[in-house]
Structures are given as C-alpha cells and as structure tokens.
Amino acid sequence: MTKIKLKITLFAILMVFGTQVQAEKNVLCIQKFLTKTVFNPGPSDGAWGKKTETAINQLMSQANNFESQNIKKSDAENICKTLSGNQGSKLHEIGQFKRFPIMITEDIGEIKSLTDFDFNNISISTNVTYKKCVFFIIHPKGFNRALGQLEINNGTLIFKNHKWKVGLGSAGKENLLNEEANLKLTKTGLHGILPHLSYVGEGEVDKPVQYLILGKDYIKPTKPSSLEEGILGSNNYTDGYGTTYNFKIHSCS
C-alpha cells in the first residue's frame, strides 16, 4: 500500500515537473524569438514575466493591425507553435520595426485650402448695384492674392475675369507663382477654387459666372469707395491656415 502511494506521488511530481519543463520550454521559445525583434522580452530565462507578456502582445497586435491581444502564459504552447511554423518568418519580419497606431481624437475640422475664405462675417445689404467694380484680395504681406472685376447687381456680386496667385506667396517668390484661377461659392461663402482645377485666361470669363449674395444689413455708400476704405463694411477674412486677408472692392461705376 505504501509502495503504491509512493509511486502515485512520484508520478504526480514527475507530471507536474514535466509540464513545468514543457511550459518553460515554450516560454523560452517565445523569448528567444522576441530577442531577434525590437520587442524586448527581458532575459531569456523561460519565466513568463510582465516583459515577456507585453512584448509578445505588442508583436501580435502589430501583426494584426493593432487589434488588442490578450496572450497569457497558458497560450505559450500555441504561440510557440505559431512562431516556429509558417508564419514565423513573417512575424520575424514584422518584428524588425515598430509601428505606432494613429490615435487622433481631436476634431481636425473642415479642411480649407490656402485660397479658401470665410465670408460669413460680411456686413452688407442687398440694395446696391454697380455695373463694374475692381476687387482685390490682399495678403497681409501686401501682395494681391487675387484681383479682377466684378459686377454688383442688387447686392449680388458677379465675378468677371480675374486672376489668382497661388503658392506660398512669400517675399520674392510671387513672380514665379502667378497662376490664373477662378472663384467659387459655397454655402459658407466665397472661395478660391484650388487654382489649378480651373484656369481662366487673362481677359476671359469662366463659366458659369460666380455669385456672392451680400448681407442684408449692408449700407450702400453714397459714392464708390476709395481703395483704402473698400466698399464692404467689414472686409478682413481669414483663410483656413489663420492668415487674414483684406477683401477690397473699389472703382465702381
């Protein structure tokens, strides 16, 4: 009886020890694999520690386009088989460089181009008519971002031929950046079309003619305004990148 008990105990000890040895072997297999990647598992000692767990989860997450993983010590055997199998070389390749996921939480908002202008704050009325005016959109550095002719028909601006400048507009470069373009309207106001999408030759009028409806509270000036004053009551406009431009209409007749 005692002999049988001893045998059972010995068998149980061997089983536990054997399982543990196998487990350590699997962990070691994972650790050795990871040491050949950029994911640091800590020392290759066969012990499943936090570093090993983090490293293998990071690798497998990266290999699965950042799907979160929950690999535990109990998964070591399967993972070792995976690493030693057909997928091993691909995982090794993936493990050579780290990928950091994009986790943008901030609202980037509506994208505006360099030539977008928000005309929401125009303070003008509808009861003004001129056959011909000249307009400018002026960069704070003093050069004209756009210029051309327009008609005001009962408060509606009808843009005629005009030219647009593109590019950085930094000092010394403008002569290289002349380009012709058109203006367009959206529900938020007047915008410069991305300059290269629509070309308007000098002296030509793009089709269709573009319109801008002036605000209700516009006060018609007693005479055409000077260049300095402009015809619009409030005429500073900010593009999508924070540059404030000046929109002037003058020489109306």
């Binding site: 980037i108 181009s113 593109v166």
Partner: protein, 379 residues
C-alpha cells in the same frame, strides 16, 4: 467614366493575355501609381513630426516645437499645418516613417540629393535613378516627369510627358540637363527626348506656373486616365532653413502647408485612381536636433518620410525610435536614422508595381541587406 473596379476587371485579363513573363513579379502586375515629392534642402523631421512623448525633445530644442501639434499617439505629434495629411492619417490613407534616411551621412546637398535619387550608397556612382530602374524592370513605359527629368527616373525606357510641357520657356531652362540626358542615353530614349522637346516648344501658349500645387493637380489629372502615366515626380525646394526656420509659424511651417496641399490636390485630382496610388516624400537628409544661433537648424542625418494613398491599408507611424538624448544622437548632433529609407522606396515599388522585394533590392538597389517594410506600411 470607367470605375476602378471595372477597369481592373477588364485590365487584368488583358495584361495576362499580353502575357510575356516578367521575371521578378511577386504577383500579377498591378496598375499602381507612384508619386514622389522631393523635398529639397533637407526637411526638419522633428519639426514636422515632433516626438512629443520624448522628454528630450523639449530639452534639446525648446524654441523649435510648434505650440499646438496634433497628437497622433503618446509618442508622436504632427505639425498643425498638416491638416489634410492628418485627416488622411485618421482615415487610414497615410502613414509616417520616422528616424529614417537614405544611407548618406555626409551632409552635402549635392551628394545627398544624388543618393536620394540614385538609391546608391555612394554618390555619383550611377547615372540612373532607383525609380527609373524599377520602372524598367516593371516594363512601365509611360510616366509624368516633374519638369526636368530628374535623376530619380532616369533609366526608364521611355519618356511620355514633361510637366509643364514647355521646355523653352521654363524659368531656368535645363538645357544642360537635357544635354546630360543625351550623353547618358541613346536609342529610344533619345528619340523620345527629341520628340518631347519639339512638342513642348510648339505649345508655348500652354505655359503655366511651375508651382508644386499646380503641378500636383496636373499630374494627378493625367495619372487618373486609363492609360495615363504611372509615375510623377514633384519638387518642393527651399527646405534648407539655416536661419529662422519657424516653429508654429514661419518658413518651414509654410512649406508644410504647401506640402499638405500638394497631398490634398493629388488626392482630389486622382479621383478613383487614388485607390491605386502611393505618394511618398524624399529628402536628402534631416536637420540637427538643436537649433543653431540663427534660430535655424543645420544639415543633419535622420528625418521623416510622409506617405499617402489608397494603397495604404492602416495608418501608423513606423519607427524604431532611437531617442533624443545626446548619447543617442548621431555624432552627438543628429537624429539617428534607424530605418534605411530605401526600404520604404522598395515597399512602394512592391505595392505599386508588384515586383518582389528580393528582386527589387538585388536589381534596383543592388543591396541585399535592405529590410522589407511592406507589411508595416501596406499590410
């Protein structure tokens, strides 16, 4: 208008039928597009994509960090002027490779640009460019050039187009460059060059400004055509800001805005072909980690690469971040480059042209040690 899916459904069998075997293809040849934006002068990658989670960033360059970078993840941010690109990142249409460079540490523009275009380890060791060689191996004959047939695409078998299509009236006519092309090419290439020269000079009224925004749109519009060019090269110069480089605003940030709009214009102009496209930036080197006495930065080593296009599946920042502590810097002054940028170029060729990685690094770059990062960018 033929949809992309319909195009693929009819184009693929046609390609298979034309069927001459091309050694090196890992899969069926695909109709991908590659657009390279060369950022000349050396872009400051730390200003563009600041590693805001690295405390040493603020110790090393207090004045040269934008006050309001957009947070991408705990380690990296992006300059606020990259608004379109940020949106592409958010919608899994863009990725970033950081702490990267072509294998060149000499800090000379002349040599660095040559290495970035030739893909060779040694400057001036070849007369052709990595992209041109890749096109030759992929049997791609149609392409768009930026305006001067840069070294980058020399080596391709046929020239289809110049942008803008007017050599005679370009701002600085590159007749010397055309002479160089004539010296280094013969046969069909020479015939194509002559044809182009004559054709472009016969259309002087079509002269347009040579700014990158216009070129981006014109290139995109051409490349979206069914049989349109599959390669375009654009150049944005003036990144060499030794003084007054800027932080939130300033010259480098203005260039970021311009680059951001180039990405945007390409996407808009390419329309459905955006799905088959990869756009990547190149620059000859990065800039010093610390600012100099003139509020600028000097020639450095590691920088950043920006990629966008529908061929990207999942956005990320790819980087083996080396750190910014003085001990971690290259020669105690530059961001260390831990990724050979030719790996990125190889991955783009693999994605757009379908060539096998091993074939690319052996035949195009002649360097079998270039690692594969295809899975990191396109996987």
């Amino acid at each position: 208008m033929i949809s992309r899916r319909h195009f693929l459904s009819i184009a693929t069998p046609a390609l298979a039928l034309s069927g001459y075997p091309v050694h090196g293809f890992t899969k069926e040849p695909i109709e991908g597009r590659i657009i390279v934006i060369m950022l000349q002068g050396g872009m400051d990658g730390l200003l563009a994509i600041p590693p805001i989670g690295d405390d040493n960033l603020f110790k090393q360059r207090k004045a040269l960090v934008a006050s309001n970078p957009l947070k991408l993840n705990p380690l990296f941010g992006i300059h606020p002027n990259f608004r379109n690109f940020s949106k592409m990142l958010k919608s899994n249409e863009a990725s970033i490779v950081h702490a990267t460079s072509f294998p060149y540490t000499g800090r000379s523009h002349f040599e660095g640009q040559n290495v970035a275009q030739s893909g060779s380890k040694l400057p001036f060791s070849t007369n052709t460019g990595w992209l041109g060689r890749a096109m030759e191996f992929a049997k791609i004959t149609g392409k768009a050039l930026s305006l001067d047939a840069p070294l980058l695409i020399r080596g391709a078998p046929e020239f289809d187009n110049f942008y803008p299509a007017n050599i005679e009236k370009t701002r600085s006519p590159q007749t010397a460059l055309i002479d160089l092309i004539k010296e280094t090419h013969d046969g069909d290439v020479m015939i194509a060059i002559d044809k182009l020269s004559r054709g472009s000079m016969s259309r002087p009224s079509r002269l347009r400004a040579r700014d990158p925004l216009s070129l981006a749109t014109k290139a995109g519009e051409s490349m979206r055509e069914l049989n349109g060019p599959r390669v375009a090269v654009l150049t944005i110069p003036e990144f060499d800001d030794h003084s007054s480089i800027g932080s939130t605003t300033g010259h480098h940030p203005e260039l970021f805005t311009l680059l951001d709009n180039v990405f945007y214009n390409l996407k808009i102009a390419l329309k459905e072909q955006w799905d088959n496209t990869i756009v990547l930036t190149t620059t000859e080197f990065g800039r010093t980690v610390q600012e100099n006495g003139s509020a600028g930065t000097d020639h450095g080593y590691g920088s950043v690469g920006l990629l966008a296009g529908g061929l990207i599946n999942k956005s990320s920042v790819v980087a083996n971040w080396p750190g910014l502590a003085s001990k971690d810097l290259y020669e105690k002054r530059d961001l260390f480059a831990t990724i050979d940028y030719r790996s990125v170029c190889s991955a783009c060729i693999e994605a757009a042209f379908g060539l096998d990685h091993d074939f690319i690094i052996e035949k195009v770059f002649e360097d079998k040690k270039i690692a594969r990062v295809y899975e990191h960018i396109f996987g």
